[in-house]
Symmetry: C2
Amino acid sequence: MKPSVGIRDVAQHAGVSNATVSNVLNRPDVVAPATRQRVLAAIEELGFVRNESARQLRAGSSRVIAYVVLDAANPFFTDVARGVEDAARDAGLALFLCNSASDGGREREYLELLHEQRVEGILITPVDAESAQIAERGTPVVLVDREATDGTRCSVAVDDVLGGELAVTHLVETGHTRIAMVGGPLSIQQVRDRREGALRALTNAGLPADALTFLETKSLQVAEGRGAGERLVGLPASRRPTAAFCANDLLALGLLQSMTQQGLRVPDDLAVVGYDDIEFAGAAAVPLTSVRQPREQLGRTAAQLLLSENEPDHEHRHVKFQPELVVRASTALKRRS
Amino acid sequence: MKPSVGIRDVAQHAGVSNATVSNVLNRPDVVAPATRQRVLAAIEELGFVRNESARQLRAGSSRVIAYVVLDAANPFFTDVARGVEDAARDAGLALFLCNSASDGGREREYLELLHEQRVEGILITPVDAESAQIAERGTPVVLVDREATDGTRCSVAVDDVLGGELAVTHLVETGHTRIAMVGGPLSIQQVRDRREGALRALTNAGLPADALTFLETKSLQVAEGRGAGERLVGLPASRRPTAAFCANDLLALGLLQSMTQQGLRVPDDLAVVGYDDIEFAGAAAVPLTSVRQPREQLGRTAAQLLLSENEPDHEHRHVKFQPELVVRASTALKRRS
DNA sequence: CCTCGATGTTGAAACGTTTTAACGCCTGAG
DNA sequence: CTCAGGCGTTAAAACGTTTCAACATCGAGG
């Protein structure tokens, strides 16, 4: 291993003091051009790399923020992350991504680590409501795609109740009266909100609440959607829903697969609405009707909110975006047979 | 902001020296149980969080590795990342994910940052061959899904030539003699290798090399696949390929979308083979035949290789996995019309 | 009673930066 | 010639931890 060249080696090699080297690094304008060149040459020659730990220890700030993502395998979150990264980049900060994989333990570990690393700020889509009570330890935290219930921090979210309402209203308008909702676990706020929206849509249409069959899943992943599909088909035909609203697109894709596999047609035998409108939704077996969320914007706004945290007169804000329904083939008008 | 409680505050509060607190943190067995309890209580009470910068500065090691991923939006890489994370976790290391987004500039920036952070090691899927010449600065680097040409570092890859050969051999066996390959840019080694395999398959089957039409794309993303589909359909019918081999599944999904949109059927009008076998491949409009790579294992092995770097008698290794063809509906046997 | 080793604890010196106040030098004005 | 002021540079003091050698304390063995 290299003997680790430090700032003083550079200083010696350039015939200046280490303070000057530090100035070249941090305030290049304050040092005379000639000296600067000499120092830069020395840096180049010796292959000096600034030790960020030492810098941070002394200076206090880290120029790094982190986004603790709920599920890195879900394209929705990678899109949000892109928005975050763009904003971070514009502000001259680097972004570290951590994947909690919906595991409260991992989430806690990463938060602990990030606190220890003294990152400038943390964006997080928490695993569940309890974990949203993230121990405040001086590091600013902004909730992403979750609404902060108390006023202790900022949050950026999308109106999930409205999203659910849009989806189910659309299903009702295309002629369905027995509708399934697939999603879970109910510990996730999103799922609860989307269900609430779904129920509201039924009420608005004058349908009874039991027109909605709730199929709870253990997670929001493709495999669970397949499982739900099997459960759905297992229901007695008289009670079987003619449409399904899935709490996200991954579930919807799984459901779609399951339908095809069991020889049922979408939308004729079952109409399907997803949520998130990820890129793959349009490329699915049957292009998926889905509730679109402003993903990049969500991330971008969250990052901006985080950056505003250390402004002197900061006030915690809760930004809420509106979702939008994108209609595709999976919910073509029900034939009045 | 909190007045930042440090190790000496804890020490004072527990009535011991800071050295003892440090011992409780790092070598709990060496300190008497009673003292340990007292210190732990003080830590709890004061909400002390160890300052990792200071620790790292003094101790030298960081307990963190990083994976610089080529495209976080590509499920292939998130799966690889999952493997990396599992292995890192087993070794008690945390993983930071960085997304170069196929941008050489970003990649360089992140590498610089990671060097400055003095991470224990770096896994990277480099943007292109030149960037693979990653300046060695004392931090171990392992290439992921790329083969290191020189013996200066470890690498973990999959035999892409074989993968291309499998794919195109399959197409030839199902009766195709005019085949398109969609992929690019050619600066990516993978694309070149997969094409080479494709050509080898043709040779093996006694077909001329010009049986393969190469449609170069600017990236490996869905949108480019759609574009390629339009170009493909634009070809005069007599010369139009009857099958397409895509350099990855995203392209294949885009191609599929484009076909559906233009009223062509898969596999009847065009058979399609993808690459990677991401989860969405099976859920596509037409379930996609694809070349499967051992994704998690790729990541896991890479991380293990990285960890072995600082063993005393380490020798750089190049692990190469075998891909496997998964046949689905998108390449059903061509009808001998 | 003295010595020895084991066991727990500690004081102080690092680690590699940033930062602050002070310094020397030069120029131009008086 | 003196002096004020600006400019570029520097010595030295932090930052919060780990680590190492040294130091108490105690029980056991001589």
